[in-house]
């Protein structure tokens, strides 16, 4: 069986790749496109370490086939900063020590961005449920939740 040719957009860049029908988007990102920021923690959608945003919807790259990316827009952690400017969430995570080992961090940041893009004024409960699909074993989530709430508050302040 010949491979499938897929034309898509990854982090704003027109991108083409070849994949097998059963290759997941995560396989393609990591092995074909060498974008290893999305991590495979479980391969079953239970940890969120491979979170990406596809056409403005948060998803796990392990729960989507590479072939399904045809004509879509994919955002990975590698596309979150603008040039040499970190996204406010990225900056805040460093400042507030919202990571320890850092392996869940790319997924958490993508999920947090997806959350704030839709809900700029979340309650703590909304942040907690918004990030419930992202397992973190190091931090107990406390500093992650605080960092996301803090960025939301900063952005509201700037918007005023």
């Amino acid at each position: 069986m010949s491979k499938i040719h897929v034309t898509t957009t990854v982090n704003g860049e027109p991108t083409e790749f070849l994949c097998n029908a059963t290759d997941t988007l995560l396989d393609v990102l990591r092995d074909e496109l060498r974008l290893t920021g999305a991590k495979e923690g479980c391969g079953s959608g239970d940890c969120g370490a491979c979170s990406v945003i596809v056409d403005d919807r948060l998803t796990c790259a392990c729960l989507m086939l590479g072939a399904e990316a045809e004509g879509r827009r994919v955002l990975t952690i590698e596309g979150m900063a603008h040039g040499d400017q970190l996204h406010p969430l990225q900056k805040k995570f460093i400042e507030m020590a919202a990571l320890q080992c850092g392996v869940c961090t790319p997924g958490v940041l993508i999920a947090a961005k997806a959350l704030l893009d839709r809900n700029p004024n979340p309650t703590e409960t909304e942040v907690r449920f918004g990030l419930a699909g992202n397992l973190c074993r190091c931090t107990g989530y406390d500093k992650i939740i605080r960092a996301v709430m803090d960025v939301a508050a900063d952005q509201r302040e700037t918007a005023r």
């Binding site: 990591r30 974008l35 290893t36 920021g37 999305a38 991590k39 495979e40 923690g41 479980c42 391969g43 079953s44 239970d46 940890c47 370490a49 990975t76 952690i77 590698e78 979150m80 900063a81 970190l86 990225q90 900056k91 995570f93 460093i94 400042e95 507030m96 020590a97 990571l99 320890q100 080992c101 850092g102 392996v103 869940c104 961090t105 790319p106 940041l109 703590e124 409960t125 942040v127 907690r128 449920f129 990030l131 419930a132 699909g133 992202n134 397992l135 973190c136 074993r137 190091c138 931090t139 107990g140 989530y141 406390d142 500093k143 992650i144 939740i145 605080r146």
Partner: protein, 759 residues
């Protein structure tokens, strides 16, 4: 928080690896690739206990794309000899069998063969073509079942150590330990209240999000390179060299960024297999475990059975204690039963103590270290009974602990006496915390528990290399999991008197720095920190010598202050201070490069104590527990980077909350794990939790220049008993078995209140 004593130590600086980790640039083990690499996969036993009669790999070997196959026969037999591994001692004879079964498969998931092939699909197909002839044997999973006389025996050669006369029959009990102080029986005779209960815990997994992964490249000349995710690349080197007959100088191990370990990455699984496959295939081999493999084949911590009997006077003084701890070691001997026994009663000054421990094998994956190995299991039981005493005697649970608290000079049941410790200060801080002073909300209940861990020191090496512009690279050899690079850089900046951002800490491979013991036991900030301080001081003494040369004065006439060499007094002469940058720039003319080194076996890691407070409510209809408020109080010695210290307390507490409420290994009748994934191995998610408040108590460790105590282990110890005690106070039901999951708690509530069950 202590007043500002230092310029950098105690401040919250950005971590040096922060930008890489928030952008996806940081490379974890599975992110490494080499040209021409093959994919390695492991065939695992579907049986909990079986003799391996034969393994036929001929069909698999014929499959196009298969480049190498190894089985137990490819790894040399090893002596019955102990080596330290993170926390526990491991037996080489067992280690070689754990990485790859020889005569027997001892648990479901036990590796029996491994393949290297051109693609993952070919490797998977090759595994399906390997024929293993198993003779299925009766198996045993539960620790108490495994201790019975008629239990299936895992190891025919195993005789229980520590009993007299030495047994002549094989047993699953590898070892019996006993600790005693005073006379327990006499102590109970003085007691006015005696409470005795039996508790159990299930094995729980460390739950690191990054699965084990390794990339090996063996050359034809015998040299090997290995990239892996580990808490100790020097241990990996040591293990692999022993298991594969390599010389240490031939094997260079580079640690990747590590995606969590918690003790579980102090041993080897894939690494020796990847090297052997690479040697056989002549190409690099990359191996990555699936989550299912992580759950089935890598070490959880022990499940246990703990019997506790405490006797007290009516005034609350505990006069006698009797504790028996039986821990599952998994398929090979070596559970953390020693530390479990020693920690069980370490928070208390009790005159009459007996503690007995058993190390028991069963058909489960071999346990690995997990945060304060063994301590949470015995503490769950002891702290629960202490709370029952408090209830029985009508004494506040913190006051009861204060009355019996271990202090400097208290002699423990394992023989040692405590030096400077901060348990009393920690209990008092808990009592004065905003949380404990706040009233318990209606419908909620509060629980409290304490915990103790020794903390360790051990071998560390470090170097401080001064660059031509006066910036400094700090080289250490401990994988940084929780921000230790930041702590090391803070201490180096403090010593050097230069800006934190002028110090760059890196973690070097095994060929680039001297030996370092594992990142574990909460030792890095303490022991490797000491090595970094000494390496930095070595560099400073060289800097002072260069200044002395330049000034043509005795070196005693030079002091190092605020990042520059200064004359120690006006008697020395009037010289412009020489900054680090200036001295660095002229280094070549004054004697060559300036590099500091230090290596040591750090002794005197200060013991740590913690007290946790939890408020929760119980849905009486469903048994669901909701944590409403949580506070972790701990003596941390000195918090070098307070944010990461808080992070240790918060993360440890939440792992304990998971252990308390939902995490467990569930086996079917065939001894097969039923929940080998994050869906049904239920670790806490963000929405399960409140903020985790922290109170950092600082009773400096007198054996460290900045007073550091290890902080990472203690916080996983108190949560189970704190939550169990709050549940007892909320429902009137004292839970004895972990986890206190909704079905179990509901059943216990219904059993205690038959009227509700009938409803």
């Amino acid at each position: 928080m202590s007043a500002q004593r230092y310029k950098w130590v105690g401040t919250r600086q950005n971590r040096p690896d922060g930008a890489d980790k928030v952008t996806g640039r940081a490379r974890f083990a599975a992110d490494f690739n080499l040209p021409g690499e093959l994919v390695g996969k492991v065939l695992r036993s579907p049986h909990a206990h079986a003799n391996i009669r034969s393994i036929d790999t001929t069909a698999a070997a014929r499959l196009p794309g298969v480049k190498a196959i190894v089985t137990g026969a490819d790894f040399p037999e090893q002596p019955d000899q102990l080596l330290p591994a993170g926390e526990m001692q491991v037996n080489l004879r067992d280690v070689t069998r754990n990485i790859m079964a020889k005569e027997k498969a001892l648990y479901e998931g036990h590796a029996v063969a491994a393949v290297a092939a051109t693609t993952a699909a070919v490797a998977a197909e090759a595994l399906s073509l390997i024929k293993v002839d198993y003779e299925i044997l009766p198996h045993v999973i539960d620790v108490r079942e495994a201790m019975k006389d008629n239990a299936p025996v895992l190891h025919a050669h195993m005789r229980t150590e520590g009993v007299k006369p030495a047994p002549d029959k094989p047993s699953n009990i590898a070892k019996r330990l006993e600790f005693a102080k005073g006379d327990a029986d006499a102590g109970f005779a003085q007691a006015e209240v005696v409470i005795e209960r039996e508790f159990t815990t299930e094995p729980v997994h460390q739950g690191y999000i990054e699965p084990h992964a390794a990339l090996a490249s063996a050359s034809e000349d015998g040299q090997v390179q290995l990239w892996t995710t580990t808490q100790g690349h020097f241990q990996v080197r040591g293990f692999c060299c022993r298991l594969l007959d390599l010389e240490t100088a031939q094997l260079r191990v580079t640690p990747s960024e590590i995606g969590g370990g918690f003790g579980g990455k102090t041993v080897v699984y894939l690494e020796p297999l990847a090297i052997r496959l690479s040697q056989r295939a002549g190409r690099p081999v990359k191996m990555v475990m699936s989550r299912e493999e992580v759950m089935r084949a890598s070490g959880p911590t022990s499940g246990g059975h703990v019997k506790v009997k405490l006797g007290a006077r009516k005034d609350g003084s505990i006069v006698a204690a009797d504790v028996t701890v039986a821990l599952q070691a998994g398929a090979f001997a070596g559970s953390p039963v020693g530390p479990s026994c020693m920690c069980s009663l370490a928070c208390y000054d009790i005159d009459n103590i007996r503690v007995v421990g058993f190390d028991v094998v069963s058909n489960r994956p071999k346990v690995a270290a997990y945060r304060a190995p063994g301590a949470p299991i015995s503490a769950w039981a002891v702290e629960s009974v202490v709370d029952m005493l408090a209830q029985e005697l009508g004494i506040d649970p913190i006051d009861l602990r204060l009355k019996n608290a271990a202090k400097q000079g208290t002699k423990t049941h394992y023989g040692a006496s405590f030096g400077v410790i901060g348990l009393v200060e920690t209990l008092e801080a808990a009592k004065n915390s905003p949380h404990y002073r706040a009233p318990v909300k209606p419908g909620h209940a509060r629980g409290v528990a304490a915990g103790f861990w020794f903390n360790v020191g051990a071998d560390s090496s470090a170097a401080a290399q001064v660059g031509e512009d006066g910036t400094v690279t700090i080289i250490s050899g401990n994988p940084d999991i929780g921000g230790s690079r930041a702590s090391l850089a803070l201490m180096a900046a403090e010593e050097l008197g230069i800006d934190y951002n002028k110090v760059r800490p890196i973690v070097a491979d095994t060929a680039s720095i001297g030996f370092n013991f594992v990142t574990g036991g909460s030792r890095v900030t303490f022991a490797t920190g000491l090595a970094v301080i000494n390496a930095t001081r070595d560099a400073i003494s060289q800097l002072k010598a260069r200044a002395a040369k330049i000034w043509e004065v005795d070196v005693e006439g030079v002091v190092w202050e605020e990042g520059e060499a200064r004359p120690s007094s006006t008697n020395v002469g009037k010289f412009e201070p020489l900054s680090l940058a200036k001295l660095a720039a002229s280094a070549s003319r004054t004697g060559g490069p300036i590099n500091g080194h230090a290596q040591l076996n750090a002794q005197g890691a200060g013991p740590g104590f913690g007290v946790h407070i939890v408020d929760l409510k119980v849905d009486m209809d469903t048994g669901i527990v909701t944590i409403d408020r949580y506070t972790a109080v701990q003596d941390v010695g000195t918090a070098i980077h307070p944010s990461y210290v808080e992070g240790q307390l918060q993360g440890g507490a939440v792992q304990g909350i998971g252990w308390a409420l939902n995490e467990e290994y569930i086996y079917d009748k065939q001894g097969r794990l039923q929940n080998p994934g994050f869906l049904d191995y239920r670790m806490p998610v963000a929405s399960d939790l409140p903020m985790i408040e922290t109170v950092l108590v600082e009773v400096p460790n007198p054996t460290h220049p900045y007073g550091v105590r290890g902080v990472g282990e203690v916080p996983i110890i108190p949560p189970m008993a704190a939550i169990g005690s709050a549940i007892a106070r909320a429902t009137g039901v004292r839970m004895l078995d972990l986890p206190m999951s909704p079905p179990r708690l509901s059943a216990a509530i219904d059993a205690a209140t038959p009227a509700m069950a009938a409803e």
